[in-house]
Symmetry: C2
Subunit: 513 residues, 2 copies
């Protein structure tokens, strides 16, 4: 009888001792390469190029250590390199080394944070991060929360949690069908008997997806108009709520949930939480705050007392430390003001949850009972180590540094006659939309492809294509109400010179005739 699996052919600690330091060295080298001034951000431009340069077979026979290292090296070499600090296309950038260490520990522990008994330390780490976040957002001591695999998942759980609490709790047993029965009983009719959620037109598309996921349907999302700075208009929200609640057959349905955004994806706009909270109270709606992007602003005393005023009024709030706090992917939290609401998700599974409640108080200790999932990676550890290393105060300085940097970059853009600034958040957060002011020739910009002279959105596309070809700076473009603009994301940890270089290069491309 073969008495050992090929997956355990040698003592694990010896295999780890042999391989892990090699992988560390490989990663360190790749980071150093990225940090070189002339490093490319992206190795290629098109999916076809990537596909032609990298083969990824899965054959019958395995490989030896040296070959496995070669595979890993090749994966790194062909990847987008965040250590250039010139990947500015997304709302995340290079991670903290402490969160990278957190990932190493998570691998070694390999515990699922679904029941306390299997992952006591990681459960406690998550509890502490939740406690500290709830405290800084101004939630009371009855608050609770949970990590989720991404902001969309947190927003979706918020919608599902809210549905569990709405209209006499018919959702849990009978789902949307039960809520429609309940709404019919109180006199709502036709499409007016559907529960619907409201969110700003500039909010993240995960709210639409959450409605799809939760069985509401995409038509059950009402998009509230925003002002020129991308903020949901409270007056428009007030009219909609008044209309929808007073007409029992209103074709939009019956409101139960309002999402306010703290830090929108394109402009970085913050909705007026206090005004929206007052309306939610008046119309008996759940207030969710999607602070996936802007949430870490709470560490900045300035933002806490301005655009984030009112977070404590939310029923639930999403924050993604993997964005602005530079924690590795994924790290998102859903926080709730009242711990009991997460208990709505508990489903009895005798083979799994032996001891869900602690004897002293009714707080759930088995984390998975609070979600609609089961097995969970202990993602809170990466935030914990980053927070512990720098301390609360430094996280605030990190955000403030980003705000100053954004002002400096905006000033630089404004001094260039070749550039025009697009819509901006008011006050400015960490995104700047801009594009060439002048009419440019995409022929010269985009590598010899002959197309007509461009201005406005077309100029944005032409410059974006040229930057993509150069592979030295990655920046995204985004649609706004006044056309397409390059959307520059200011990452507080990124050295200013990278942003200034980008602005200069766009100005140069804009001036090419």
């Amino acid at each position: 009888m073969v008495s050992v699996s090929p997956l355990h052919a040698e003592v694990s600690s010896e295999e780890y001792a042999r391989l892990a330091p090699q992988v560390c060295a490989m990663i360190e080298e790749w980071m150093r390469e990225g940090e070189r001034e002339d490093a490319f951000v992206t190795p290629y431009t098109t999916p076809a190029e990537y596909r032609s340069h990298l083969a990824l077979p899965l054959p019958d026979e395995g490989v030896d250590d040296a070959q496995l290292m070669e595979v890993m090296r090749s994966l790194l070499k062909n990847s987008v390199n965040p250590w250039t600090d010139r990947f500015q296309a997304k709302l995340y950038s290079a991670p903290t080394v402490s969160s990278m260490c957190g990932d190493m520990l998570l691998s070694a522990m390999n515990a699922s944070v679904h029941v306390f008994s299997g992952s006591p330390v990681l459960s406690m780490v998550e509890e502490e991060c939740v406690r500290a976040l709830c405290s800084i957002f101004g939630f009371g001591t009855d608050a609770d929360g949970i990590t989720m695999p991404g902001g969309s998942a947190s927003n979706t759980l918020a919608v599902q949690t809210s549905l569990c609490c709405a209209f006499n709790g018919a959702f849990r047993r009978d789902g949307i069908w039960g809520l429609v029965q309940e709404l019919s009983r109180i006199g709502r009719t036709g499409r007016g008997a559907r529960p619907v959620l409201l969110t700003g037109v500039d909010s993240h598309f995960s709210l639409d997806r959450a409605a799809l996921a939760a069985g509401l349907g995409t038509d059950a999302v009402v998009h509230v108009p925003s002002d020129e700075h991308g903020r949901m208009r409270p007056d428009a929200l007030a009219s909609l709520l008044a209309e929808m609640t007073s007409d029992p057959a209103h074709p939009f349905g019956m409101p139960f949930f309002v999402n306010a955004t703290s830090g929108s994806t394109v402009l970085g706009a913050f909705d007026d939480l206090e005004a929206i909270a007052a309306l939610c109270q008046q119309y008996n709606c759940w207030l969710h705050v999607d602070a996936s992007w802007g949430g870490p602003g709470i560490f900045s005393p300035y933002l806490r007392s301005t655009v984030l005023r009112g977070t404590h009024l939310a029923n639930s709030l999403t924050i993604n430390p993997h964005k602005l706090l530079n924690v590795t992917h994924q790290c998102s939290f859903l926080l709730v003001r009242e711990s009991r609401v997460l208990e709505e998700h508990a489903i009895h599974a005798g083979y799994l949850f032996h001891d869900t409640h602690t004897p002293q108080k009714t707080r759930i200790t088995d984390m998975a009972a609070k979600t609609l999932g089961c097995g969970r990676r202990g993602e809170a550890l990466k935030l914990y180590l980053t927070w512990r290393k720098y301390g609360t105060r430094a996280l605030g300085e990190h955000i403030d540094q980003g705000l100053r940097l954004a002002q400096d970059v905006l000033a630089r853009i404004r001094t260039s006659p070749a550039l025009e600034v697009g819509p901006l958040a008011e006050p400015l957060f960490l995104q700047i939309c801009f594009r060439p002011r002048t009419t440019i020739s995409p022929a010269s910009a985009a590598n010899g492809v002959h197309t007509p002279y461009a201005s406005g959105s077309a100029a944005t596309r032409a410059v974006h294509a040229a930057l993509l070809q150069q592979r030295h700076i990655a920046v995204d473009f985004a649609p706004t109400r006044s056309g397409d603009y390059l959307r520059l994301v200011i990452h507080p940890r990124t050295p200013p010179e990278h942003y200034f270089a980008l602005v200069e290069e766009v100005a140069r491309l804009a001036s090419i005739e």
Copy 2:
């Protein structure tokens, strides 16, 4: 002006070069400790003990490198140690070193696998793993799939995907309300107009949660009885489907989805896929196979041609490499037979998806368009490296080793007069339910607490409590139709002697008078 964030006070590669090797060494030491014969699996017994031994503050001020290392060391020291190979309480065990290396790479790349342009290599790795898995499960070339953060998430996405495809596609726009309208139009009435899913009574509770998550409600789950070996009874399923579809007002509702389980949580039972698939075709239901646990059996030619026969008939299938293939948490895939079904989730977000389809074919390249989430960790990489290292053939040998080991352990239990075997899967998979046959005194077993003599379920609990106190072996207990049993999970990579030692210890505890 402060020009650098405190989160980037030094060059990252230098910080990594200083810290990562220390963390590697710390992990290696912890693995070695775990591998010692006398190592404890768990440092403490109760949540209160853990809480009293570990403080996890998050103060205003940060810590230096040495203090951060001390924090990490303390987290490891207080954690369940999987490297003992004596943590047998869950469906996962110690991970492959290659998947640990994968986590290190993922941290360094820190890419979100939502759009191809941000994570080209990780997107390709995921595509290749999906392709290879679809192929081995017998799906055709039009199959597709996606990684999800856990088996529950995969099962939930299967239900949501299926709902999108059911009853003329009303779900996407109008949710469950739309489906109820649609069902009313074809003559269903009252509770009979609700869409419901069917699953075995011994299936995972994530199916109930998926129904809650998707707005169906927990009452929209019909649990089909199983036979004495934990397999869903196809005759019972046939009767239910016939009844529910023929009576338009049937209080259970209208079936649209059947979940079959390949490897149940407690017994490791495999439902008869071919019989169930035939019924699904007859009654126009979506067939989902929850092979979270048993799916890797497909690598074993023996299991592929026996209990897993018929996987190619499924509309969707969940497999969790983080369980039986020893990949680090989380690593789960949802596979679908027809790629188009995942396109039902795409929601236009102009600021995000610029190029969702490749020009040559209509296959989606931006992974997030296939899910109801957005940002995604590239979890497929960990399976890729494990698979590449060992090769397809060795993964099959790994499973076969587990099957042999289970037979040996069962034989050993049967030779002990002090032990009785509980319900078992037929054929045996990787779980064995057993307990003391004799009446034992929990007083002596469980550390002096004086309680009445125990037999049956009470003896199971007493032995479980005693093992928990000893901290040398972690094993779970589970309810079955004939009472509570210790549920031993056979992990193919675990050395046989650990199982034999456990059997001996339970026999010893059972004999204590």
